[in-house]
């Protein structure tokens, strides 16, 4: 498991029913691309997050496939519909099999 992986998500605390809100996510991860070389000229093996999924109450918002060309600490911004109060769930899948999860609740104002 990659070290120091910490997901961070910014979701408004409340929204009006039917609103479209902006969600920002960032996860600290070195995203080793697999083309870099170390001091001895050996290729450093690839180690990235290859998939990111965001769901709201079990329904999918966005499902992103990541390639090595995504920067260190992958950042995503996207928009979601909020028809009712509920919970956002965010999941990141690492090359090494680790799964990082976080969730955020939202209220209807």
């Amino acid at each position: 498991m990659a070290k120091g992986v910490k997901p961070r998500v910014k979701v408004p605390k409340s929204a009006a029913a039917g609103d479209v809100i902006t969600i920002k996510t960032l996860i600290s991860h070195k995203m080793e691309s697999g083309v870099r070389k170390d001091g001895d000229g050996n290729i450093i093996p690839r180690s990235i997050i290859n998939r990111f999924v965001a769901d709201f109450n079990g329904q999918n918002i966005i499902d992103v496939t990541l390639e090595p060309a995504i920067s260190t600490n992958p950042y995503f911004q996207f928009e979601a519909m909020v028809p009712e109060a509920g919970e956002f769930k965010f999941t990141w899948y690492d090359d090494d099999g680790s799964v990082y999860e976080t969730s955020k609740k939202i209220k209807i104002a």
């Binding site: 479209v20 809100i21 691309s33 083309v35 870099r36 070389k37 769901d55 709201f56 329904q59 999918n60 918002i61 966005i62 499902d63 992103v64 496939t65 990541l66 390639e67 090595p68 060309a69 995504i70 920067s71 260190t72 992958p74 950042y75 995503f76 911004q77 996207f78 928009e79 979601a80 519909m81």
Partner: protein, 140 residues
Amino acid sequence: MEFTRRNILALGSGAFAAASFAGMPAFASKTDDAIAAFTGGASVTEGGIDLTAPEIAENGNTVPVSVSAPGAVSIMLLATGNPTPAVATFNFGPMAGTRSGATRIRLAKTQDVVAVAKMADGSFRTAGATVKVTIGGCGG
């Protein structure tokens, strides 16, 4: 044969020219292959999709890119000049508010960034933007 300074220079520039000529078509076809794999060989039309990328990126390690295509089912991002052109594919689910997304990408050198969107009716749209990169972002 004695290696004079002139000989070595001539050899070096020849090798460099050969390498750059060999490199260009390979990258272009890799991008085309990636697009063909995404579209299944369907024709791709320009427009109907917005790709926002900076004209000049000082640091190729993190280039902010955003893409938006109303009515899209999924959007693929490609960097034509990277060792591997694929960057990311956004697939939108039923709860997506808008068909848009933003992220940060690595660019190895000055190149075109291309977005291809699959629309709900099965057609494909594309848009491109040229980004000038001062410091490359792929290491190696």
